[in-house]
């Protein structure tokens, strides 16, 4: 860019390499712009928001999304907002919680850039072309993007640009960067420098996530079309590499875990102890991610075989057709959009189908226009009056039988009786009655004391099993002792008035 000022740009235009480096740095700079922009624009918000450090919240949000990104989905929008709130609240503890949530939401929505149709950012930068001409170019990027999740939900993922903004200089070889971080971590732990170790462990975790993301994309492509993927070399190599990686990291991290646990348990300094505990969590999370990655890798082989059976061994068609992807879609994508549109327009015009145009008669139109609009009832359509029919009495026992049974069970409080005797007596009057008596006796085995207590009953039927066997032609089981207990109604009533104020729930359980 400084060459512009010399007045002879053509002759002193920088070499392509220097220019490219400049462009790269300009792009890196552009990625941070949305964060600075937040602090600039917070003044425009209705309300007093200057106390909030928006860039800090934004970085924390990117951090959270990156760490919550899972193998299948991304981070949940609301969850991120919720987890951002403590930090926002710490910045302005006296403000209401709603404001904290509003700030967290505002930051996240601005990172997604909800207002734009692309939901992304654009920066303009200039480069010198091969002919020395200065060209302004658009650089489009996203920081947090929305991806479809299962069941139509929307999840958040951080883009590579965002990860680069977050940890910096991450676009190196993932595997080697991870090894470096692990080695560094071990050294740091051995020297007891836990603060640095935590930083290294966190970086290692970002790389793990990045690695999983790369693999996820590749596996997704495998699932879609088996022929598209080189299953002879490329994919098996990739899977083996990833499995080796998982095995290696797993061993490594377990060793680290043992080390830090020791550090955690032996540490005397509470700060030291806390850091070690945090490290344990981070490494555990790394291990969890590796395990997840491994199970995906093991699924890939069977998936390929199943898809191959389905796709490759089908009987070949008699005639060859048009290769829609290879001959149409793939050649269209690299074209300039103006030219590509001609092809897609042609496909659309012939491929979308037909629509029958509506034909309206004037008579119908007049009628339709003059018909008053149908009032939409606020309460919905009127319910038809239900036609009630008296159902026939289908109780097994009649009122008279119940009375007879209750009379039989109206025992004096000091003379309980065996169930066998009661059944025999009931059977003498009515062959059905013993069933009712038995039923009532069984209910009495778990008497509704609480209800009786609340209702102020004076007596309560109870049944106790003392181990005696019932000898009866119709029933089996325990020969219960059935009796009546007198309840102290007056005392209970008094107690209730006291208790009602204290614990209402006590009466339910008794």
């Amino acid at each position: 860019m400084p060459h512009q000022n010399t007045g002879v740009p053509r002759s002193v235009a920088p070499g392509p390499a220097a220019d490219e480096g400049l462009a790269r740095r300009l792009k890196a700079l552009a990625c941070t712009a949305p964060l600075h922009d937040l602090d600039v624009r917070k003044a425009n918000l209705a309300g007093e928001y200057s106390t909030y450090a928006m860039a800090e919240v934004a970085l924390a949000a990117i951090d959270l999304v990156t760490l919550t990104m899972d193998f299948d989905t991304g981070a949940d929008h609301d969850q991120i907002v919720a987890r951002l709130q403590p930090r926002v609240a710490a910045q302005a503890p006296r403000r209401p919680a709603e404001e904290h949530e509003r700030v967290a939401r505002w930051v996240l929505e601005n990172l997604i850039n909800v207002g734009s149709v692309d939901r992304g950012f654009r920066a303009v930068y200039g480069t010198f072309g091969t002919d020395g001409a200065y060209v302004r170019r658009d650089y489009d990027f996203k920081l947090v993007e929305e991806v479809p999740g299962p069941g139509g939900s929307v999840y958040l993922r951080t883009t590579d640009e965002a990860v680069n903004v977050l940890v910096g200089a991450l676009d190196t070889d993932v595997t080697s960067a991870q090894i470096a971080a692990e080695v560094k971590l071990e050294v740091l732990i051995n020297r007891g420098r836990l603060a640095d170790a935590q930083l290294a462990a966190e970086q290692a975790r970002y790389r793990t996530v990045q690695y999983a993301e790369t693999l996820r994309r590749a596996l997704e492509a495998t699932r879609r079309d088996v022929r598209a993927v080189d299953w002879l070399r490329a994919v098996p190599d990739m899977i083996n590499e990833a499995l080796d990686h998982v095995a290696d990291r797993y061993r490594h991290e377990n060793a680290i875990l043992t080390n830090i646990r020791k550090a955690r348990d032996e540490a005397t300094d509470p700060e030291h102890k806390r850091r070690a505990a945090e490290l344990v969590d981070i490494v555990k999370d790394c291990i969890r991610r590796h395990t997840q990655l491994q199970s995906r890798l093991l699924e890939a082989g069977p998936l390929f075989r199943a898809e191959q059976d389905r796709q490759a061994f089908a009987t070949p068609a008699a005639r060859a057709g048009l290769d829609l992807y290879g001959q149409l879609l793939a050649p269209v994508l690299p074209l300039a959009v103006e030219r590509a549109s001609r092809v897609t327009d042609a496909f659309f015009a012939r491929g979308a189908g037909l629509r029958t145009p509506p034909a309206v008669r004037v008579g119908d139109l007049v009628e339709a226009l003059l018909t008053p609009p149908l009032e939409r009832e606020h309460l919905g359509a009127e319910m038809p009056e239900p036609d009630l029919v008296a159902t026939p009495e289908d109780s097994r026992f009649s009122e008279a039988q119940l009375e007879a049974a209750l009379e039989l069970l109206d025992l004096p409080h000091d003379a309980p009786r065996r169930l066998s005797g009661l059944l025999a007596e009931a059977r003498r009057g009515d062959p059905e009655l013993p069933y009712l008596v038995a039923l009532l006796a069984v209910h009495a085995a778990s008497p509704p004391v609480g209800t009786a207590y609340r209702q102020g009953e004076q007596r309560l039927l109870f049944a106790v099993d003392d181990g005696a066997q019932l000898d009866d032609p119709e029933f089996g089981g325990a020969d219960l002792i059935v009796g009546a207990a007198l309840l102290d109604a007056a005392g209970m009533a008094q107690e209730r008035t006291v208790e009602n104020t204290a614990g209402k729930n006590e009466g339910h359980r008794e």
């Binding site: 290879g326 300039a336 001609r342």
Partner: protein, 293 residues
């Protein structure tokens, strides 16, 4: 006029002198075309339609009459069969043709939206019939999901992006010439989805655009919805296969050839690299931009 000639009984050379075409025959022929204009109507579900289809097959005079009615209405007859019914497509200037402006208001004004909507239709077809054999096989039923189509195109775009990066190309478009932006880039930078206030799909997102395309194709009788997973799952109908194979695919191909982009294929499945660059040396038969090396 062609129909005038075919209608004249004197022109029928058949030995057993078929009966002259009556107004009732014309009404039946028109009714058959009318059935064809209802793309969701299937002969298997409608006895009268099935009878008209049978008559079209067995009675050449009636078949010519029905075809003439269709031609007069500006329709192209793709096939008349019990499985597809009378599959008709709108000729270019027909009143039945769908215009992009009616399809999407944004597409009429915004060139990148126009491209994305068209591309969505092409991608749905490519995903529904991933192999040339699938398009040729009458019994093939394609299955697609909205998210699957989006991921498929995105993958292709990503591959082109990586390729551009490997070659050190600067794919960022010049600010004053948006029309020269690479097509894949337009798709790649549009977000895949987006949260909206009312939990609907964001219309401007790529899944929103693909979703609109499949919904439209359902109304055209080209797809049938089978489930809600992955943004909606769909299966193809015989009509869709006919439409793509006999009409849309070749029309788009002709346009592409007109741009001088693709050498003429020999009908086999091999994918030849486009003229003017090695930027797309995909492996033969590749359904996706995954590479042999």
């Amino acid at each position: 006029m062609d129909d005038g000639e075919t209608l004249a009984p004197a022109q029928e050379p058949e030995a057993d002198r078929p009966a002259a075409v009556t107004p009732a025959d014309a009404a039946d022929a028109a009714r058959l075309v009318a059935c064809g204009l209802q793309p969701k109507l299937l002969p298997a579900r409608d006895a009268e339609y099935a009878e008209l289809i049978r008559r079209h097959r067995d009675d050449p005079a009636f078949a010519r009459l029905a075809d003439a009615v269709a031609a007069g209405l500006g329709l192209v007859v793709l096939e008349v069969s019990p499985r597809a019914g009378m599959a008709v497509a709108a000729a270019e200037d027909s009143v039945f043709a769908v215009r992009m402006g009616d399809y999407s208001r944004r597409a009429a004004s915004d060139s990148s939206d126009r491209f994305l909507h068209g591309l969505a239709h092409l991608a749905v077809a490519a995903m529904a019939f991933p192999r040339p054999a699938d398009l040729a096989d009458d019994g093939y039923i394609g299955r697609i999901t909205v998210n699957g189509v989006d991921a498929f195109v995105r993958q292709a775009c990503r591959r082109l992006e990586e390729r551009a990066e490997e070659q050190g190309e600067n794919s960022d478009p010049a600010s004053d010439a948006p029309g020269l932006e690479a097509a894949w880039r337009v798709y790649a930078r549009r977000s895949a989805t987006g949260a909206t206030k009312d939990a609907r799909r964001l219309a401007g997102s790529t899944t929103g655009i693909v979703g609109k395309a499949v919904a439209f194709l359902v109304d055209s009788g080209f797809l049938q919805r089978t489930g809600d997973e992955a943004g909606g799952t769909y299966r193809t109908t015989a009509r869709y296969q006919l439409q793509v194979r006999d009409l849309a695919g070749s029309a788009a191909m002709a346009e592409l050839l007109d741009l001088g982009v693709v050498p003429v294929g020999d009908g086999s499945a091999s994918l030849l690299p486009p003229v003017g660059g090695e930027e797309l040396d995909l492996v033969a038969e590749a359904g996706l931009p995954f590479h042999g090396s």
